[in-house]
Symmetry: C2
Subunit: 187 residues, 2 copies
DNA sequence: CCAGCCATGTAACGGGTTACATGATTTA
DNA sequence: TAAATCATGTAACCCGTTACATGGCTGG
């Protein structure tokens, strides 16, 4: 099983509709999990059938009705059981790294282009994480928040995501500079 | 398509049998790709059918015969085409992060235990990467090797893997200390 | 003598991705 | 008036994981 626990963990922050969850999985959770809306709707239906979450209909007049979900006690128990089962390090599957692995037998030009794009994207993500971290800790400084805040889980995963993207950025920039220096482009 | 390019990139280092590849995918490539032997045998068969790799039988007397594979020109062309197609950042799926996301609504004890295990595993992996980096660059220092070495691809991906595991370790240790301080264990 | 390594697969299953489908409301 | 947002799904497909299967040689 896989996505189910990520969904349960996400729902701990409050009520969400499938659509809102999809947004969350596109930003805040995207550092360690990602899912397209279709997958989320399917998973929510499954979790509800199993009684791990409960949905309630919300009628709206200006836009389509929606269903909001919350984690049930059974859902919490499921999460507790999940933390008790040993987790394997996940296998990262990164196309860009495959390209770099092969780069010295190929024309580096397109790889360099992709590295530059990725560096920019990573920098943008770092800023997103920074904003989210500031929002999560409110007026408190980080140290105080981590010592006394009452919902530090999302903050901690955000910190990990931020580090990852920062490293990503630096690595992409380093490799770009290096490949440039080794194979100077014409013009 | 997915694994195919990782296999092609791995085969650039020389001839490999399915079994040897499986080893490689367990160590050197494991920072950005992972595959079990069964998957590799299937993928190698497919790549050979498509003419992207060529296999040759090697008869052995002390142990079972094996087939060694090399990338063909068509395979190189496939890799070149691959570098030209835009790559999306991969979705990381990390159970341990899901657990931390949920940790302040659950008993942190098992999560702390897992974080500690992971920190140790990450530290071990950093050392493996260090050894591999030393092996790859031979007697050269890093700067010289990166400027003049003729096969820097694997070195660069290794560097990324090392950074990742180092960050992983530091994060795990930080979170462990934090959760410990917030919820002191009895005894 | 048993565990582990070398060596290569088949088969079933589960989960994730892509494509397709619908339709109202708000913003540019 | 076109695009984006809100809102929810179905269906087909591909890929990856797990379980099962075989068999000889080497080292403790």
């Amino acid at each position: 099983m896989a996505l189910r626990h990520a969904v349960l963990a996400a729902l701990l922050d409050g009520e969400y509709s499938g659509y809102q969850l999809a947004k969350a999985f596109d930003v805040s959770l995207s550092n360690f999990w990602y899912a397209v809306p279709q997958q989320l709707y399917a998973e929510l239906a499954k979790l509800e059938r199993e009684g791990l979450i409960a949905g309630r209909q919300v009628i709206q007049h200006d836009r389509p009705n929606k269903r909001l979900f919350t984690v049930t006690d059974a859902g919490l128990a499921e999460l507790a059981a999940f933390t008790a089962t040993p987790s394997k390090p996940s296998s990262i599957r990164e196309d860009l790294l495959v390209m770099v692995q092969a780069v010295d037998r190929l024309d580096p030009t397109p790889v360099i282009a992709q590295l530059e794009e990725r560096a920019v994207a990573a920098a943008a993500k770092v800023e997103i994480f920074d904003r989210m971290l500031r929002r999560l800790r409110g007026e408190l400084d980080e140290e105080t928040f981590l010592r006394e805040g009452d919902r530090i889980g999302p903050y901690l995963t955000c910190l990990r995501g931020r580090r990852f993207e920062q490293e990503n950025r630096e690595w992409c920039e380093q490799v770009t500079a290096l490949l440039r220096a080794r194979a100077p482009l014409p013009g």
